[in-house]
Symmetry: C2
Subunit: 341 residues, 2 copies
Amino acid sequence: MMNNKQIILKHYVEGYPKESDMEFKNSIIKLNVPEGSNVVVLKNLYLSCDPYMRNRMSKLEGSYVQSFTPSYPITGYGVSKVLKSGDSNFQEGDLVWGMTGWEEYSIVTNTQSMFKIDHDKDVPLSYYIGILGMPGMTAYAGFYEVCSPKKGETVFVTAASGAVGQLVGQFAKMLGCYVVGSAGSKHKVDMLKTKFGFDEAFNYKEEQDLDAALKRYFPDGIDIYFENVGGKMLDAVLVNMKLHGRIAVCGMISQYNLDKTEGVHNLFCLIAKRIRMEGFLVFDYYHLYPKYLEMIMPQIKAGNIVYVEDIAEGFESAPSALVGLFSGLNVGKQVVKISCE
Amino acid sequence: MMNNKQIILKHYVEGYPKESDMEFKNSIIKLNVPEGSNVVVLKNLYLSCDPYMRNRMSKLEGSYVQSFTPSYPITGYGVSKVLKSGDSNFQEGDLVWGMTGWEEYSIVTNTQSMFKIDHDKDVPLSYYIGILGMPGMTAYAGFYEVCSPKKGETVFVTAASGAVGQLVGQFAKMLGCYVVGSAGSKHKVDMLKTKFGFDEAFNYKEEQDLDAALKRYFPDGIDIYFENVGGKMLDAVLVNMKLHGRIAVCGMISQYNLDKTEGVHNLFCLIAKRIRMEGFLVFDYYHLYPKYLEMIMPQIKAGNIVYVEDIAEGFESAPSALVGLFSGLNVGKQVVKISCE
């Protein structure tokens, strides 16, 4: 029997989530595998804070994700260590990433979507909830599979310093595209240019007129828009797209906390410019994960691709880290470190 | 020298177009080809009224179509007879379809987009501005090339009795899809079911709740939406799409006369349902025209595909016919017959 601190969702959330929508709970867990069971017992090391989790804090029906269950621990991506295993695919001591609970220890029954980590000491373990995990695969699938990118094209990325955006920008640069990103602070904008190699970047909060801002950076228009924010920005982008442009719709974080989403008015541009706008979810692309790892690992080790994480220390910091995502407090991928190996 | 009645646009239009935005003009034309010129002199027989013409009545900049020029004749698709030709591709007496002027006689300098008609007496000549012309190619390219349709899928078509919609529905039925159309009158709705073979149809003007209407006809969701109207209907469709659905964006006629277009709020569905939404223009697909003719001609002759036209008689009726499109007065493809062969 062990004490197991947990973070539970108190109730469904409306508007911006607050730390007080969550609470800590002390529970007790038995760290063993009952005979004949194939569960895996995990010690959680890193928890991931991702924008899609906001949707799960609402009461959803027929959505692509399930709502969290009030009074139960929040769930999300994490990096964990296997303590006990009733599943022959996992052994005691294995490091894994996948869905886990916001708690110190988790008992996982569905091991289908759990990936074993072939840990390379040169690469931080936390990367498996970032560049080497779901956000990395999202950027990879979204950019290469959905955007149909070509060398020399112009690419615009919103939420560009975030877990996904920073990678999309770097992938686009690797391919020889002209890349512009937007973010919400001077620090992030500087980082886009100096650290991630974006050609240009701007702070959307300082632009009175998003259309004018886009025209400044894309006088000849945008071939590819990697959409992470939605709303007003999408409207401004639509009128600045080039003929036969592509919009990969990855997220709409600006809309998640609104009672009523903003209306998008310029969809006629889809016709006039023959634009393909396509939503995607990373779940449909995990079969490409081995191929992605093969591509990305050498790039990370060679320093060709960098990844910025914002690591909150300690289990107690998880609620504020998650809440902070929605006001853009994080700089880079938001991670919560809850334990060393 | 001949008298040549013309219909000119008096001024750029705001809001719904009115007959008084156009006026008749008597001018004089010389029906000959100057030596060394490659112009073609046409006698116009049929004029086409199409929704996209509304856009050309506004002052446009950088659009996919050019504005009409105030004080000059309106231009549009027509069926015409060649009176004189300086272009070796066309002979006196040929029947052609393509861009012409809203006037009795036109002198065409750009013959590149003019198609020669291999006239079959079994097929009405007016079909060349309908099922055998731009609207036919629009339905063909939009459905087969953009929608990626598969047998057994569920298809929703708006403006379903119009020049394009009636064909999309019939193409979808031919492929073995379940097809529902919406239109704006009882007469049109009846026609969709009895004449064009749609599985179901409804009058959108009689539905208080478009979402509920769609759920009634698509309890399991929509695979393919052929978008002709935009606005509120698009919003309702988005929440009723199936996973991996496709939206071919052909037109948004409900929005063309509004000062400010309606906002579309449910675009997050693109992500949750991995929807591809793609705008297209028929101009990009005219290379498929011979292939289309080969497919469609036998179907017309066999009576497998029907086409309903709304023929306004006489040159004088053209302005009211065009204006009527935007309040849905037309039943089927709106044609203006201005002369017999």
